[in-house]
């Protein structure tokens, strides 16, 4: 049970990371800055609970707001460029953030113990949950509550005009601009939203692993962040969740019985999935089919009643 709950924690946190990339991918922008926002959320909320003894909710909120703020700031210059240039610009942002925390040493004496980020030695003992008597089930509950809220919000976004505008920008920027859409504003808004989501994910990550250091936030993690929505498909938020379950739940944890071959299969499976489902696991056709099936089922239900 502990193990399963532990995996659920990981899946939840990575889903948030993936959803933050998903929001920006809707506008067609491939950003590797999400790991930078994730790091900001992790460090800020960690510092708040550890050094300033804040309540976890306040710390998570401020951490994610800070991440969103930096996303907003970096969005304006970065989103002027597209494609490969944006990839590289966002890599540089993430690396700058990572290296900032690599250099950050902020040791404070709290209740007789030196705590806080200690540059290379990492930021240890972010133990708010365990120290405040949270059972693992509570932690999982909190993480999944946040995941559900974010997923619902993103699902709802797809029901209103803002969502259509995001996808319009993602499909054809020129046509969107000619339809009166302020491209910069839409992209920066998506970046900011993504920053907030990644930030809260980072805060939850730091508190559920109790330790972060700059090695946690390397570009590899940013690659994972964009992998989830791409592998899952951009038609629906569920796709990202599916992809996280596929990668974290199935390939990384589920294939443990394969022993040494697990890590080799990892890359091969990704290649295979992309060749078989280039639009992602949950592509437009599948979504349409599921909708049809659902409506059939509900109609059938009505007929019976």
């Amino acid at each position: 049970m502990t193990y399963l709950l532990g995996i659920l924690q990981t899946i939840g946190v990575h889903t948030l990371l993936g959803l933050s990339a998903y929001l920006l991918l809707l506008t067609g922008q491939l950003s590797l800055a999400q790991v930078g926002f994730f790091a900001i959320g992790a460090y800020v909320s960690g510092i708040l609970t550890v050094i300033f003894s804040w309540n976890i909710f306040a710390a998570l909120a401020l951490g994610s707001l800070m991440a969103g703020f930096f996303a907003f700031l970096v969005g304006f210059p970065a989103l002027r460029v597209k494609g490969l240039m944006l990839v590289v610009a966002t890599i540089s942002f993430s690396e700058i953030v990572r290296l900032f925390f690599f250099n950050l040493s902020w040791r404070v004496n709290v209740n007789g113990v030196e705590v806080g980020p200690d540059s290379t030695q990492g930021f240890r003992e972010i133990r708010y949950f365990a120290a405040n008597g949270w059972e693992q089930i509570h932690i999982v509950g909190l993480i999944w509550f946040v995941v559900m809220v974010v997923m619902l919000a993103l699902w709802w976004l797809d029901q209103v005009r803002a969502g259509a505008v995001l996808r319009a920008v993602g499909t054809d920027e020129l046509a969107a601009q000619s339809s009166g859409i302020n491209l910069t504003m839409v992209k920066v808004a998506a970046m900011t939203g993504g920053g907030v989501i990644a930030g809260i994910g980072g805060g939850l990550f730091a508190h559920s692993t109790t330790y972060v250091d700059h090695h946690t936030f390397v570009i590899l993690l940013a690659t994972f962040a964009v992998s989830y929505p791409i592998i899952g498909g951009l038609r629906s938020v569920i796709g990202t969740l599916l992809a996280v379950i596929f990668i974290q739940g199935f390939i990384i944890e589920g294939l443990r019985f394969m022993g040494d071959y697990r890590n080799l299969i990892f890359g091969l499976l990704i290649i295979l999935v992309m060749n078989m489902r280039p639009q992602g696991l949950l592509d437009g056709h599948l979504v349409a089919d599921i909708r049809k099936l659902l409506s059939k089922l509900t109609k059938g239900g009505k007929a019976d009643a």
Binding site: P77, M85, F93, M274
Partner: protein, 295 residues
């Protein structure tokens, strides 16, 4: 740290020389991106894999060290072709994300394959001109890197010749600019792309071997930094610009070296990335990129 103008010039020399490696990797990235407008993130990994296969062929078949520099590029070319078929060939044309993601999968796979074969241990790689270290007055110059620099110019010339003087090059350029039109004109687009991947692979394998030789040690730790450096060089040089990639390689090497001297290793990369970010925002077309205005 104390330093004077001599140190600055010296680290410029060091940086530009080591930048030759970045230039070579950037050249391959540029070639593929220029041809397909798609990103092959497994490229640096395939270069390192080429260097590894070169090295292993030495121990397995007992070949002379020089053969590593021949077998490495060949293997890397083969890997390039496989990558093309596995990650790009059968993907829908308009979809940029699927091949990108597949190439990330390939990056993971190649990396783990290397790690599986070597346990991830660093391996000694034969040096070229191990004793060539010149002192020019106050300045020290690495002979092997001078040679690498020479290679990067020669390879740039060869690639330019191939692109602008041969039928293959014509096909590559045509395919790059108007894939559909090129197809209609009877240019075998898949064969052209395959050739580009092989060529880029061979280049990358050569760069991988030269990198391994100049560091002296080969390790899977090299792939990620090399991937990032390759991307940086490609964009700074201007997408698809051959000479841009070369110049950008030197520039990135020099910037690293200078910031290392002036600000120390902990802050070195912060400044390099800050500079890169500003450069991208202020000059998004790169050093030699053409402005794309008409569709």
């Amino acid at each position: 740290m104390n330093f004077d103008h001599i140190d600055i010039i010296q680290s410029l020399i060091d940086g530009v020389l080591f930048g030759s490696i970045y230039a070579l990797i950037g050249l391959g990235f540029t070639l593929i991106f220029g041809a397909m407008h798609k990103l092959n993130l497994a490229y640096a990994a395939s270069s390192i894999a080429g260097a590894y296969s070169g090295l292993m062929s030495l121990t397995i078949f007992g070949l002379p060290p020089l053969m590593a520099f021949i077998i490495g590029p060949i293997m890397s070319g083969v890997i390039g072709l496989i990558l093309y078929f596995v990650c790009f060939r059968f993907m829908p044309r308009g979809n940029h994300l699927a091949p990108l993601m597949a190439s990330i999968g390939a990056l993971f796979f190649i990396d783990e394959l290397i790690i599986h074969e070597t346990s991830g241990s660093p391996m000694s790689f034969p040096a070229i001109l191990p004793d060539a270290y010149f002192f020019l007055g106050e300045f020290g110059i690495r002979g092997d890197l001078l040679l690498v620099m020479g290679f990067s110019f020669i390879l740039m010339a060869i690639v330019m010749l191939l692109l602008y003087r041969t039928k293959l090059g014509l096909g590559t350029r045509a395919t790059s600019q108007q894939p559909v039109a090129a197809l209609l004109c009877g240019i075998p687009i898949h064969r052209t792309n395959s050739a580009t991947f092989i060529l880029a692979g061979v280049l990358g394998g050569f760069a991988g071997c030269l990198l391994a030789a100049s560091v002296g040690v080969l390790s899977p730790l090299l792939t990620l930094p090399l991937t990032v450096k390759g991307l940086i060089v490609t964009v700074i040089g201007g997408l698809g610009s051959i000479r841009g990639a070369i110049v950008a390689g030197f520039a990135v090497g020099a910037a690293e070296s200078i910031f290392l001297l002036v600000r120390g290793v902990n802050e070195r990369d912060i400044y390099v990335f800050l500079l890169l970010f500003l450069f991208l925002v202020l000059r998004p077309n790169g050093l030699f990129g053409t402005t794309i205005n008409r569709d």
